[in-house]
Amino acid sequence: MAPIAAVFYREGKIRVTNLTFIFWDLFYPLGYMLVFGVGVNYALGSPFPTGGVDYNAFFLAGVLGMASFGIAANTAWGFFLDRDNGIFYEMLTYPLSRAEYLLGKVLFNVLVATLQAAITVGLGSIFLGIRIHFDLLPLLFLGVMGGTAGWFFFYAIFALKIRRNDLFNSVTSVFYFVFLFASSIFYPLEPLPAWFRAAALANPVTWQVDFLRFSSIGIGEPRRIAVEAAAFAVFSLASFAYAVRCLQQQE
């Protein structure tokens, strides 16, 4: 555990040198929820045609999923910063395995994502009246933590394979567009055309968001949610294994 704790310590040290970053990380999902979510909620009216809840409640899981996705991308971008500072290769000579390095790197950001989820869920419940299934909160936090880690491992593959940060930025822009819009973040999938629905159902963002939606407001069919959660776990483990391999191939 000590090597993972050392990477965690390092990530934390770096992050707390910029409190604006911390503030932004913790509160920006709330911004999405209070601005975009409330705007759409008023435009669509209530109740929203899924599960008998309003759009604010429906969008809560989307906001949390989007935040996981964003934190993971930013954390993976840190590889470029480390390369520019020359510290990346030096760190690879420190007494820790490549897997420990990746786990430590994501751990601090998993903590941030969890705090962020707690703030978003808490304030969503208080100010927007979202009826949270508090008994399922442990599952919700598990979904946020697993989701952030899984997406980080996925992004790490590209950050380690691609040596140019401008190219990586282009890739993440495409990913944001494809993964976030072809998913259940913003809208229910049922009314969508078949091809769109098929694409969204094959999208790991949908798997994570459906899990978060179930564990926050209780919407979703448990058996399907379980299958999606298992699929996301496989996706995360495969991404982790391949990211470790990519890290081993860094020369």
Partner: protein, 313 residues
Amino acid sequence: MSEAALEVENLVKVYHSRRQPPVRAVDGMSFSVARGTIFGLLGPNGAGKTTILKALTTLNRPTAGRARVLGFDVVAQPLEVRRRISVVLQETAIEQFLSVRDNLLTFARFHGLDSALARRRTEEVLERFHLAPEADRKAIDLSGGYRRRVQVAKVFMVTTPVLFLDEFSTGMDPILKRAVMGYLREEARQGRTIMLTTQILSEAEELCDDILIMNKGRQVARGDLHALKLLSEGVYEVAITFERLPETIEAEIARLAPLRMKINQNTVELTLKAEEGRVLELVSELARNRRVLRVEVSGASLEDIFVELTQEK
């Protein structure tokens, strides 16, 4: 337990890249380094020095052959190797957004030092490297020379038995460089094995107990400074200072086919490979009927040996 600190056997490293022919950076190198020595790996740009250092520090995987650090194989037991080494890489490696003190503390944490020991060592190293006044400044605000100083200072935070330094003195001022060389000698006396790569030959001459010169991925010479000088027996450095530099001197020297020649104002420096008597004759010829202020003839320096062994034939 292995007697040698570093063992390299038939090491080959080939780099492949798209649309480029493969590059054989290291081509069957074998050597071992005894514990507690300062070992210098010398060679011109592209000789393969950094590639070997990367293999020994687990940063790359050899294409063929083996490398071991304190008996641990760099491919099969990379973590065991990393537990026993600290590394100063060629490029400046620093945590830009952390203070100098936090850079040292973070490094210590990675190497498993407990908090109290890490803090005590940090203060010692800050003093030793004259970094105390900068301790709370972020690395991003430091000059390049200071960043390099922090990078080198880090490896004195820990007592890993093997230390790798890749061109460690780049960007360092001469006073600090001298001090660091003193620290390195002290570390070696205490049993630490130090491997350094450098192109500054006076540095290697002054510091290394054991030197390996390589070129194009292969060993061209090996031994301590004395042994290397024997390799280059018959090589002499000559310096002649004239009152006025003769106009034809360049052509005269060219006829002697020197290994190296440099003219600076009215001083001519050349390296000749010939028997001692012949060298003195040649010097006399150059000085004949001219007013000479100073003549100096000495045995070859490491630089001469290096040039002779690595220059394009």
